[in-house]
Symmetry: C2
Subunit: 337 residues, 2 copies
């Protein structure tokens, strides 16, 4: 009982965004990138277990006992689980995922983000969007559970999250906190939700993360994407430069640091990038998190760089051989240096 | 806008339990009874639309736009949905389903109902149970959406339902009510939830229905099962008699009415039946609902009898050619006769 008590008192270590583009095939409707999702799940498990090689060699006890292909052998025998739980060693994580090629078609086809549930097409699109994103949520929970991560799917709509003109107006995070303190890993997702002023809208995973970060104060936040990090222009442009660090001032303004050969306005250069990937929204939300003194790492999923970010290895000085973008408070930076 | 206003003010018409045994193959793990589920979905649509033949000939506009086999043709063209929404004609329903051959194995194998999340097996079973029941929920939402029912899956765990020694201690029904008033049909399910005293347990669909009925006061409640109704002994016994009506007194005691040739104690005879199907729990919950003055119909799914019950045709006198069991308050009965 004492051990449990101390587990509940542990701080939240990390909120992870599984970017839709990182875990699905963007151009193929409702197709999961199984390989990436599998690697990310392994990385998450190792990071949760503290990243030591000794825990990674522990036999994985799968928690998806469905008869779906790939799920654990059943029946599980009780003694396989033993008495000494490896879960107790776990640090606290929350996972939020995007939609990628799930939900996007249904939402954009019907204009759910613009609201208006009295339109039959919007109402049908709301239903269709939720079917698609919750099916992705289920598959992600399954992939994590197969790796032995005690994951709990939680839909923002069911949890009472709602917006007012697309800003969060209500969000019950008590069940998320309760799940974390009970040793589970909540898995939330971008969702179609009710909006006080326009009936309904789409609540993005990035906004969910910012809200959770404000309330639950994780040690750091990791955005897993399909590119190495934030660039000064679209990464498809061969002259694009990866931004190593973005410092956020208390007034919310940004500046690029640790890049001697350039001195551009991020706001402008990143805006040009936005048409291809909504990076401005991501950076805006990330900057709001960084302002709280919480480091944000934007990094390519399923790479050694993302594993190190998940594992908390970027918290002090940024290692020279690490590729990704750190967004942190300029105050925080002064403190650590 | 005026129409919407009046829709929100409409009373809740019906809470429906889709019994696990009625929509899954009990003896085959995680197998849906597609035929029954399809018929039930059609019945529900017709009952929601008022049961008139004119509405049943309206073209069904499917709301599952996933690429899964059986889902609607995509892309849907906006004009197919028109301006005049048939949803506005809809009466308000809430659906709650059981687990059947989903979740049962995972829950019983690990003892989730007995609690104790510090046991690794219980924790893993909690995760595995939720994966199984939420996958059933998704498939039911899909089947309903294919019939044009604007259904919204809602997991009790995510919605903050919890128990204290297996009795409901918290349940946020505001999002359920909000969904109903917005013209959607919430679809809840029996779930693994947190328990204040024993960490976790299984919250059954029957208990969820009783709680929703107490708070949201539907006109009537329908339990769809795999037998014709409540019998005086296991229905596999060839001498079993179908109970036509059970009257519930204000003190909660029951008596069988409208069956001249028998006068047995239901409590005793039904208890013997319980080993095969948890019928006592169902009747206990049903009696608590009936005590509120809300009729409960226990009836075989996917039959004309269940359609008539869903359609509200059993509300006054019980038709002679109707097969099923009515559980109603003895006070209510005196009022209507």
């Amino acid at each position: 009982m004492e051990e449990k008590q101390s587990y509940a008192d542990k701080p939240l270590r990390c909120i992870v965004k599984l970017g839709g583009a990182a875990i699905t095939w963007k151009n193929e409707m409702e197709k999961i990138d199984e390989e990436n999702l599998g690697i990310v799940s392994k990385h998450l498990r190792e990071a949760m277990m503290g990243g030591s090689t000794s825990t990674s060699s522990v036999k994985v006890l799968g928690m998806d006992w469905s008869k779906t292909p790939g799920s654990a052998q059943i029946p599980i025998t009780p003694h396989e689980f033993g008495d000494q739980s490896t879960f107790d060693l776990m640090s606290k994580f929350i996972i939020v995922h995007g939609a990628g090629s799930f939900g996007h078609f249904q939402a954009s086809r019907s204009g759910v983000h613009k609201g208006g549930l009295h339109h039959p097409l919007v109402k049908a699109g709301f239903v269709a969007t939720r079917i698609s994103v919750t099916s992705l949520n289920l598959e992600i929970v399954r992939a994590l559970a197969r790796e032995g991560i005690p994951s709990i799917g939680m839909s923002p709509l069911a949890s009472g999250w709602s917006t007012s003109k697309r800003n969060i107006s209500a969000a019950d995070t008590s069940q998320v906190a309760k799940s974390v303190n009970s040793g589970f890993v909540p898995v939330l997702h971008g969702d179609a939700v009710y909006d006080d002023l326009q009936d309904c809208t789409i609540l993005s995973g990035d906004v969910i993360i910012r809200h959770l970060a404000e309330l639950l104060k994780p040690e750091y936040v990791v955005f897993l994407t399909d590119v190495l990090g934030v660039y000064d222009r679209p990464p498809t442009d061969s002259s694009a430069v990866l931004l190593r660090e973005i410092a956020v001032d208390e007034d919310g303004s940004w500046s690029i640091v640790a890049l001697e050969h350039m001195n551009k306005q991020v706001e402008i250069t990143v805006a040009a990038h936005d048409t291809t990937g909504g990076m401005v929204t991501k950076i805006t939300e990330a900057a709001l998190i960084a302002k709280l003194g919480i480091d944000v790492y934007i990094v390519k999923a399923a790479t050694d760089h993302s594993f190190r970010a998940l594992n908390g290895e970027i918290r002090g000085d940024i290692p020279d051989d690490w590729l990704g973008t750190v967004i942190r408070s300029s105050k925080q930076k002064q403190k650590s240096s």
